[in-house]
């Protein structure tokens, strides 16, 4: 992605439907310029993953996504040999007339051919660079995996003993997201540009709803965002709604044919907005007050 300023980044992202504030645009700009990974932390549903998707779209490059989970290891992130196919290949050679004298070495070599290599997201990102590599929810993976990531992210190369070193022609843009279920290691954080993604303000969120869901009426969008913003201010909720929930709720209301928010439809569609029974009760009580003021 060739850009000259952070304003240009914001502009290009907006063209894909992702509206970001100035500081996020600056960080993205810096990540591109300094060729450093971007570490995004923040409440769930604030558009961390969506940013990576938008970035890939802007640059017109593939998005490789690595979803982390407990127990993930290098063979799921980097590469693996397709063992069954290798065995099949050997059997096929055997059936085709055995491995004559000098053929043995050839046959062995042919086992570690690129076609038996299963490229997992990180290797794929290096091979297909320029690309956007999204390492999602890195806090779910184990510490050991972090150390491994650190190694790849500092050199942007991977060595496969049988094939040699794969180096990215151009370092991929790496986006790591974390929900802070645990503190990431400092060494990894130091490699990255850190950004805390906050909930957007009223105007921006209305804008987001209008951009993402142009079919929703302006009045409805404003009312929905108004309610959501006030709910976020209420500390009693177990899980305050994120932007993703705002969009879901707006869409749900739109499908029910609402042009303006009314109490009854709002109560019926609450499932799109809050995901806990206690929260639903609380919001139901609050809706009356929120809608009248």
């Amino acid at each position: 992605m060739q850009v000259e300023s952070s304003a240009q980044v914001a502009e290009q992202l907006a063209a894909t439907g992702y509206l970001c504030d100035e500081s996020l645009a600056t960080v993205v700009f810096l990540a591109g310029r300094m060729q450093r990974p971007l570490l995004l932390e923040g409440e769930p549903g604030t558009g961390k993953t969506a940013l990576a998707e938008a970035l890939a779209q802007v640059a017109g490059v593939p998005l490789l996504r690595l979803q982390c989970y407990e127990g993930i290891d290098a063979s799921q992130a980097l590469y693996d040999w397709d063992f069954p196919r290798q065995v099949l290949h050997l059997r096929a050679l055997e059936a085709a007339g055995g491995l004559g004298g000098q053929g043995v070495e050839e046959a062995e070599k042919s086992l570690y051919d690129e076609r038996f290599l299963l490229a997992r997201p990180v290797l794929a990102a290096l091979q297909q660079a320029p690309a956007v590599l999204l390492v999602d929810e890195v806090d779910r993976a184990d510490d050991e995996f972090e150390a491994f990531l650190l190694e790849v992210l500092s050199t942007y190369q991977v060595s496969i003993p049988e094939l040699g070193t794969v180096r990215a022609a151009e370092p991929p843009l790496v986006v790591l997201t974390s929900n802070r279920t645990r503190e990431l290691h400092d060494a990894l954080k130091r490699r990255c540009l850190y950004h805390w993604v906050d909930h957007p303000g009223l105007e921006r969120e209305v804008e987001i709803v209008r951009t993402r869901l142009p079919e929703v009426s302006a009045a409805l969008a404003r009312q929905v965002v108004d309610v959501v913003q006030q709910l976020r201010g209420d500390t009693g909720l177990q899980k305050p709604p994120g932007v993703a929930e705002t969009l879901d709720w707006s869409q749900a209301l739109h499908h029910l044919g609402c042009a303006e928010l009314d109490l009854e439809t709002a109560a019926r569609t609450l499932g799109a907005l809050v995901k806990y029974r206690e929260d639903a009760d609380r919001v139901k009580h609050a809706l009356d007050r929120l809608l009248t003021t």
């Binding site: 810096l30 300094m34 929900n179 279920t181 540009l193 805390w196």
Partner: protein, 381 residues
């Protein structure tokens, strides 16, 4: 650089100095404020500033936030230092939350006069041994300075075997389920000749332990000992311990306690915690813990230990509600109350009454003996 002028108009930059000197000065100030700024972070900050230019203070701020900070706590400090450093019109010095003075070390007395008991006991070894035994059951809030030092030494040797949980992954084992994959691979390694059968069993990993230490005024006599216990548990090999303090607000203390030396760790903890000996808003603190940390995964499947006397200034029903939530995500909830082991104690405080139905274990926590009991309970959890 025209940008310097703008920062200068805000009163921040000294024209006689080079910009990188000024920016590095800022990183030094930030380090002094408690953000872990390393050399490579400073270098990254300078590089980022070179890219965004110095014309726009907001861009410099963002560049600093992204390169020098590593978490939400850092961001808060960063903003404070940024304002103070580049905008010194706005009334300096600023009041900072008071921190308690660092504990001073006095020499360890040979043996305490009233602790020796038997007056004519001439064997110092036996006298010390009996001291240790007496100390085991003494209320830590009533100890003298010398006794506290001996207690600290004993707390640093507290025995703790971290609890373990089963994982989805398997380990090799000499009996149990047949590990078909390993067996076939071993056999392939021998070109298809039969190989010894491999077995496996479900692996285990240390279970996370989360300590929530109440540092409010009513607990001030115990806070030091409890943090020492937390420090000890943190440094047992293989243990996964996270520590928070609760009071009027929630503070993540694991980083401070990760310093190996207990004294330095406690000083670091003292610098980190803003609400020593303040009021108690246990319910709200627990709520913040659950919202920001617990429900997202920190408390899931963990043994959560609340070390508090249950004196709640706020609404006991909120506290009860939060403990109920906590119990739903945690593997086990242990409540440690320093007053429980005392004669004539009845759980009548509003907070304690409210939470008792929702905790798995209710333990005492006023003496060394009770702390080793706590370790036992945790190991079995």
């Amino acid at each position: 650089m025209t940008g310097l002028d703008e920062l200068d108009q805000r009163g921040g930059l000294d024209q006689r100095r080079a910009p990188d000197e000024v920016l590095l000065g800022f990183t030094t100030a930030l380090r002094a404020a408690g953000v872990a700024v390393t050399h490579d972070r400073s270098a990254a900050f300078l590089e980022a500033c070179a890219h965004v230019g110095l014309a726009d203070p907001a861009a410099v701020r963002t560049a600093g936030r992204s390169t020098l900070c590593g978490g939400p706590d850092d961001l808060h400090r960063f903003d404070g230092v940024f304002e103070a450093y580049f905008d010194h019109r706005a009334g300096l010095p600023r009041p900072r939350p008071a921190t308690p003075g660092a504990p001073t070390l006095t020499s360890l007395p040979e043996t305490d006069a009233d602790g020796a008991g038997e007056g004519d006991d001439s064997d110092p070894v036996r006298a010390r041994a009996s001291d240790a035994e007496v100390l085991r059951h003494r209320d830590v809030a009533t100890l003298s300075a010398g006794e506290k030092q001996r207690l600290a030494a004993q707390l640093a040797r507290l025995r703790f075997r971290p609890p373990r949980r089963r994982t989805a992954r398997h380990d090799r084992w000499h009996r149990g389920q047949v590990d078909a994959r390993a067996t076939v691979r071993a056999s392939l390694r021998r070109l298809g000749e039969p190989a010894p059968i491999a077995y496996r069993r479900r692996g285990t990993r240390p279970r996370r332990v989360v300590l929530l230490v109440d540092v409010s005024g009513s607990m001030s006599g115990y806070a030091d000992a409890l943090l020492r216990v937390a420090h000890r548990l943190t440094h047992v090999p293989d243990a996964r311990v996270e520590t928070f303090t609760v009071g009027t607000r929630l503070t993540h203390l694991t980083r401070a306690l990760s310093v190996r030396d207990p004294e330095r760790a406690l000083v670091a903890a003292g610098d980190t915690v803003p609400d020593w000996s303040g009021g108690t808003r246990l319910g709200e603190s627990l709520q913040v813990f659950l919202d920001r940390w617990g429900r997202r995964g920190l408390a899931r499947g963990a043994v959560v230990v609340v070390l508090s006397d249950g004196w709640e200034r706020g609404d006991p029903s909120l506290l009860a509600e939060q403990v109920r939530r906590l119990r739903r995500v945690a593997h086990r909830v242990v409540w440690v109350n320093p007053h429980r082991g005392k004669d004539g104690y009845e759980p009548v405080q509003g907070g304690v009454v409210a939470v008792l139905p929702h905790v798995d274990d209710f333990l005492a926590g006023h003496s060394l003996a009770t702390y080793s009991e706590l370790c036992e309970v945790l190991s079995r959890a």
